[in-house]
Structures are given as C-alpha cells and as structure tokens.
C-alpha cells in the first residue's frame, strides 16, 4: 500500500517501548491505585473446606464492627448475582453446573467465596471478613481425576456424574494405520496443575452513577470488551450503561481472560449501595480464587513402521475442570486436538477428551492453553519412539515432518498450515547448539560413568495462533467470533490516533501498533498515539489472548492505515488538480507522477480535510477509517528448541547447561519485544518442567498456598538463553506476521524434560514426572536401577 523506503522503515526495528518511561517512572494507573470519593472496600469470606454444605452464615458480629457498611451472604444476593458464564459449551449435552459468585448451599473448592463484607477501608473489611461465622457440614473431597470418574463421590450431586463432557475427534483412519504398524508405543504423561502468577494481582473498582443507572467497571482484565457483554448478561445492567476499562494491567497469561465472581459481586454491591467499591486480591487469595492451568492425564499411543515413519497417533485426555466451568474451561484442552499431530505427517489420528469435575479451583486458559499440553505429549512420545527404534531423536523428526516444499499443507487434524520451514529453523538451532559435539560428549561421559550425566532435549514445535477465523470458532461451539477492530483518526495537526480493540497487559501494543501505523502512513513514530482498553474509546474488540493481538489486531491497524491513505490520495489529487491515478504516495508525501514539485504531505492533507474549504464534491470531511478484520486462517509459528542439561545421578539435581531457541514467528515488527516474549515464555515453560506444581492434599486443601510453597523461578534459576530466528512469512495476512506470545512456553517444557530423560535413558529411565525436582529425578533413577528399592516407584 505504501512504499516506505527500507532505511526508514520502523517495522523490524528494535524500537524502545513507548510504554516503559511511564511504567518505570511509576506514572501508572493500576486498578488498585484508583481512588474515588466515598470509595468502599470489599473483602470476601472464603471457604476453608474443599466440599461442604453451608448450614449457617452469621454476619451479625461483622456488621457491628467499626467502619463496616454492609455484609451479605450468598443467599442475600442470590437473585442479583446470577451465575457465572461459560462461553464454550463444547458438546450439546455438556454438564454445566450453576456457578454462583457467592455460594448459597454448597462450597466445592477451598477459596470459594461465601460472603462479602463492605467497609470504609481495607483493614476494616479484612477484620469484618474474619468476624463472619460460617458453618459447614463436610462432604467428601474429590481430588483425583481417576477416582472422580468412578462417581463414587460427586462434586455436583444434582448432576449425578463428575464427567462434564466427552469430546471425540478423528482424522484419517487410526485403526487402519495402527494395524499396519510394526511398532506401537503407549505412554502416559501427566500435566501437573499450575498456578498463574501475573505480576499484578486481580483487582476491580466499580463506580456507579446511581441516578443514571450507569456503571464504570475498572478491572485488571485481559478482556474489557467480552467482560462488558458478560457483566451485562449476568447482572441485567443494560450494555449501553456499562463501561469497562482495563487500565494498566500487569500481566495475565490467561488468568485475566475470564469473568470472575468478584467482578460481578463488585458491580452488584455498587448498584445496591450506590457507592463506588474496590476489591483487590492478595496473592494467597488469588492462588485459590483465580483460575489454575494445565492438569491433564495424557494417554498416548503412537504407531510407526520399523524404519521410523509415523503412521498414526491416538490421544486420550482426562482434563481436570476443577469444581466449575469458568469462561472457556472446557474448550482449553480441545485446542490441543488440533495440535497433538504437530508438524508430523501421518495417516490416522484419534483424539478424545473427557472433562472431569473435582473439588479444586477451576482451570482455564494458561499461556498456551491446550497447545503446550499437546506439544509436550507429542514431543515426548516421538522422542520415546526414536529411542525404541534406535534412531536419533532428531532423525525421526526429519523423517516425519512436513517439508518446506509441501506448504500449504492440510494436516490430519484438518488445519491448513500456510507456511513454515522446519528444516531451516532446525539447521540453525543445531548449529548454534553444537548438537554433534554434545552427543559425542554425552557418549564419552556415559562411557566413563560420570556421576553427572549430560542430556539433550529436542522440541520441534508449532502452534496455532492468531485466534481466530470466526466460522472455525463457530464450528467448535465457541460463543463469540475471532475478529479484531482497529480505527485510525488523522488529527488536524497531522498527528494520528490509533484505536485498537486488542487489550494489552504487558505485550507492548502501543509500540508495535505505532510502528505499523507510522510506516503505513509515513508519519513519525512519536506522532502516533494508541488508545486501548476502554469500551467507551475503543468500542469494538475481542481483546488479547492466544497470541492473537498482532496477527489480527495489528494487521487490522495496517489495513485501517491503508484505508486512510486511499481517501487521502483522493483529497491530494483534488488539491493538486491531478488525476487520482497520477498521485503517488511514499514516505508520507503525495506527489504527481512526472512533476515531483507538485506535492502535499499527509499532514497537509489532514489539515485541508479539517478545514474542508476546498474539498472533493460529495466527500465527507474526515480522514478516519475503521476496519474489523476476521482472519482467514490461524497462523502457525514454529521453531526448534534444544536444551542440554547436566543431571547429578547421586542427588537428582538438574542444571540447564545451554538452551537454544530458534523461533520462526514470521515477519518481526519489533525484535526487542519478540525477544522479551521468548525469554518470558521460556522461563514459564521451564518453570513447568522443573519447578512449579499446585499440590492439593487428600482433603482438598491447597498445600502450595503461597509463593513460599509454590516455586516460581527467578532469574538466577534460569540459564542464559541463546535465541535466534528464521523468518518464513505467514501468507494469510499482509504483514506476514504469526504471533509470539506463547511460543517459548509451548516449546520449552518438552525440550527440558526430554533432556532430563535423555540424560538417564541409559540407566533405564523412561519418564520423570513434572516438575523434575531433585527428589523425583533421584527416585526415577533408583526405580530404574533397582537401588534403594524400598524407595523405588514412589510417585
């Protein structure tokens, strides 16, 4: 659309983030920093038991404390609070229990809210919450998915089952593929439960204008637009009277992609009292009340020929929903249905997922959402298959992946991968890693029986990003579309406002969108202002999750800029008294072919449009445009990650010696931001492999209830990352971009665990359950070698 000369192009340059000066200087607006006249504070009384019948809620003592304005039980507010939405009914007969923001009769996980107190300050609210007396008749906790499936004890007794849904999917003919196979390998992998840890806890502030029946909801959310609709449907506040603002939001990783009890409670209490209210979670409260991630039992079977050609893959998942279905809980594991086949060609594929209720915090989308689980399963079993066949795990991948000449390629799961070059990314990673040298060293150390063994892990991953074509979401019974909106307004002074429906919470949209708009319009980077996260100023949006923002929202900005230029060209032609076809546009200047002195800058055109004194007949005097882009396909970033670990066979300690990540995210808008996303993603994926696990005891108590018990790694726990990129542009969008938000997390977990197992393979170790803590590694070694046999086999 615009011929920006290469040396001035902003797209592709490591521009410093515009957001950062303000964030670093503390000139921020976090939801918790918002203070309004007459603000009241909420505190929630939460269940200390995993499962129980509520027999009594006594609010009298709480109400009498100084500073307390009101206190409500679930029964008091039941009619107004309604039930929390789940937007993804994955099967027509899905068991979908009511999910009341405040429990009325029964609690089903530790941390479920049962009452709310309202006070003049946070301290009084906390004291009042402590003064509320609630009695419970205990009911059996259901903490194990396999036991849950026997229905011996029910999470929702009125439903008669702990199974929410069974979702089958078939591509090709798995039975035929299996029948022809020389080798069939079955494996069970466990995806442990994880707790998302965004830097900023969740918070919500509701400001009512009682006389008008209007409400402004400020929330630390990833999804202000979806939240507005859902709050309107849940509480009955008309959508046009509800404004939702996501101010500065400090991370989400999926945990703020939800409609939470506290958001509904705050709105209902503000409406009831006609006063502004605020709620901010504490970290340990969030560990129980904010969604968890992963938690699957994966039973995989792979069928192959003796020479290492994969014929088929079968996947049987059990996915822990927790006690209730949150916004997209049931859909998360199903995203994996399209990703277990990954980059490999095969003839038959079978997938089945059973959603299971337990008395635990609900699970939902957590960075990668279904795709890390799938990538882990397939990258582990393909590696195990190579070992079974006596092949190098790199060789088996080369033999089975889609070659770069074969794109576009329709996979056995029915997706069409538009582009990719697995050979190029892998060759680069192998070179940076020194694959053959490390294999030689590994052989030598095994030979001499070194106490510390070297392991090499491979992950050749892809993912589906850029969620999503609306028709595909419709076919999967998702409750909304996958489009994104952008508009551009040229101001009279020639400056630019970009309005995006995508809602950043750390991704740097303001910077990347400025680069895209500035390039397309030929204006300075500094002249672009990006507006987001407020349903009043960015009225249409589908928000930020699933590595979709750049691919859908950023491309929409690019297209909106194109529309502005199309109109500006007609205005310029009029001003220059030239035919529209004779007007060129480059670097922000319209000029007439053959007479370069006849020119108007885009800023001059903007001012002329504002004045509208001399304007084309019948044209509206504005240089604004709006685009709502429904993507034609997903995007498919890919990459090759290689990890080398040293494993001390006596202590079980694992130390990452080197990590190479070569990612292909298509065209890169800002390499600094891409690098940051990859680093953070790697940290999060390595955390699952080695450190993090949400543990419940048999009574359903969350044993890892604080950051002192739940091991989020810090910088010293992580290695130096070697990162590089190959660039195979996406063909499904004009910028050629693919998205990068989840890549590092998806790729790194199997790379690390494959490396740990690889270090111990010669000792007979076939699996180490995550997180691969020293104890678990030590037990796996002893179980395999028969030492300390009284200890062997535990966990």
């Amino acid at each position: 659309m615009t011929e920006t000369t290469q040396d001035t192009a902003l797209v592709g340059r490591p521009m410093l983030r515009k957001e950062d000066a303000r964030l670093i200087a503390g000139q921020t607006r976090w939801t918790d920093s918002i203070t309004l006249p007459g603000l009241l504070h909420l505190a929630l009384v939460r269940s200390p038991v995993a499962h129980g019948r509520i027999t009594r809620v006594n609010l009298d003592a709480a109400r009498e404390l100084p500073g307390v304005v009101a206190a409500y039980s679930g029964a008091d507010l039941a009619a107004e609070l309604g039930t929390l939405p789940c937007a993804w009914p994955v099967t027509p007969d899905m068991v979908h229990p009511d999910h009341r923001p405040l429990a009325v009769d029964e609690v089903r996980h530790v941390g479920e809210a049962v009452a709310v107190v309202v006070a003049r300050d946070r301290y009084a609210a906390a004291d009042a919450a402590e003064a509320v007396e609630v009695d419970y008749d205990p009911l059996p906790a259901v903490t194990d998915m396999t036991e849950a499936l026997t229905d011996a004890a029910l999470v929702h007794s009125d439903k008669g089952t702990n199974t929410s849904f069974v979702w089958p999917f078939e591509g090709g003919d798995y039975d035929a593929a299996r029948a022809r196979a020389d080798v069939v390998l079955a494996r069970r992998y466990i995806q442990q439960r994880l707790i998302p840890n965004a830097m900023e806890p969740r918070a919500v502030v509701v400001e009512p204008i009682a006389a008008a029946g209007e409400f402004t909801v400020y929330s630390a959310t990833q999804i202000p637009h979806i939240l507005r609709l859902m709050l309107a449907l849940t509480t009955g506040v008309p959508e046009q009277k509800l404004r939702v603002v996501a101010p500065d939001v400090g991370g989400g990783f999926g945990s703020k992609l939800n409609v939470y009890a506290e958001e509904v409670i705050a709105l209902v209490v503000a409406r009831k009292l006609g006063r502004p209210v605020k709620w901010t979670e504490s970290r340990s409260e969030g560990y129980q009340a904010t969604i968890h991630g992963r938690d699957q039992i994966q039973d995989l079977e792979i069928a192959a020929t003796r020479d290492g050609r994969i014929l088929g893959l079968s996947v049987d998942l059990k996915a822990d929903m927790g006690a209730y279905l949150q916004l997209v809980t049931p859909g998360v594991p199903l995203l994996g249905a399209f990703m277990f086949n990954a980059i490999y060609k095969m003839e038959g594929y079978r997938f089945r997922c059973t959603g299971v209720f337990t008395t635990k915090t609900p699970t939902d989308a957590y960075r990668g959402a279904g795709r890390p689980e799938a990538t882990f399963g397939v990258e582990r079993i393909v590696t195990d298959l190579a070992h079974e066949l006596g092949m190098d795990p790199m060789e088996i991948r080369r033999k089975n992946w889609i070659t770069h000449e074969e794109f576009p390629y329709t996979t056995i799961a029915g997706l069409t991968y538009d582009s990719g070059n697995y050979e190029a990314a892998t060759d680069r990673a192998v070179e940076l890693f020194g694959y053959s040298e490390l294999r030689a060293e590994q052989a030598e150390r095994r030979q001499r029986g070194d106490r510390v063994q070297l392991g090499i892990g491979i992950s050749t991953f892809t993912e589906m990003c850029g969620l999503a074509p609306s028709r595909v979401l419709g076919s999967l019974a998702y409750g909304a579309g996958g489009w994104e909106a952008a508009s551009i307004r040229m101001l009279p002074s020639g400056k630019v406002e970009v309005v995006t429906g995508s809602s950043p919470h750390g991704q740097g949209h303001v910077t990347s969108w400025s680069q895209i708009a500035a390039d397309a319009l030929g204006v300075p980077f500094e002249d672009v202002h990006v507006i987001h996260g407020d349903t009043e100023s960015s009225p249409m949006g589908m928000d930020t999750y699933g590595s979709r923002s750049l691919v859908v929202g950023g491309v929409a900005v690019h297209l909106a800029a194109g529309k502005v230029i199309d109109k500006a060209r007609r205005v310029a032609a009029h001003l220059l008294e030239a035919a529209e076809g004779d007007v060129d546009f480059a670097d922000g200047v319209f000029s007439v072919k053959g007479s370069p002195e006849a020119r108007r800058t885009i800023q001059e055109v903007a001012l002329a449009t504002f004045a509208a004194h001399d304007f084309p007949e019948g044209m509206e005097p504005s240089l604004n445009s709006e685009v709502v882009l429904d993507p034609e396909n997903f995007s498919f970033p890919h990459g090759t990650h290689l990890c080398a670990v040293d494993v001390d066979t006596e202590t079980g300690a694992v130390s990452i010696r080197s990590y190479v990540a070569v990612d292909d995210v298509g065209k890169v808008v800002n390499p600094l931001i891409v690098e940051g996303q990859v680093h953070g993603g790697l940290a999060q994926g390595i955390a699952q492999a080695l450190y993090e696990e949400a543990v419940y005891d048999a009574d359903g108590n969350l044993s890892t209830g604080t950051m002192a018990d739940y091991l989020v790694p810090a910088a010293p726990d992580l290695p130096e990352f070697v990162t590089d990129r190959t660039e195979t542009p996406a063909t499904s969008n004009p910028l050629g971009v693919k998205g990068v938000g989840e890549a590092g997390t998806i790729a790194s977990t199997p790379a690390v665990v494959n490396a740990v197992v690889d270090a111990l393979r010669h000792l007979g170790v076939q699996d180490v359950p995550m997180p691969c803590s020293p104890e678990r590694v030590w037990r796996a070694i002893n179980a395999a070698t028969g030492q300390n046999s009284d200890e062997a086999g535990a966990r």
């Binding site: 946070r122 301290y123 609210a125 906390a126 004291d127 402590e130 504490s282 970290r283 340990s284 604080t706």
Partner: protein, 52 residues
C-alpha cells in the same frame, strides 16, 4: 495480606524500649519488638500474629 490493627510505639533508646515492653507485659498485653520487620511483618500480614 492485611494485618490486624495494632498499636505502634516508636522508641529511640534501649531504656525506652525496655520500659515500653515492661509496661505492656505487666498489663497482660502481647507486645512484640519490630526491628527489621522481615519476620514479624509477614506474620502480621498473614494474620498469624496478633500483637496487642
């Protein structure tokens, strides 16, 4: 992570500290010494300590 309410006495000498502690202990109150705050503050915020 919100501590219960408590009184705070700021002292500038050891003698003052001893006197303040003695006075409260003799009244049957459970006074605690706040120095660096690395232990007491987390206990307060988790409501595991209720000094008075």
């Amino acid at each position: 992570m919100i501590p219960p309410s408590f009184d705070y006495v700021r002292v500038s000498t050891v003698d003052e500290a001893v006197a303040a502690l003695g006075e409260r202990t003799s009244r049957g109150e459970d006074a605690k010494i706040l120095a660096g705050g690395q232990s007491l503050m987390p206990l307060l915020r988790l409501r595991l300590a209720y000094p008075s």
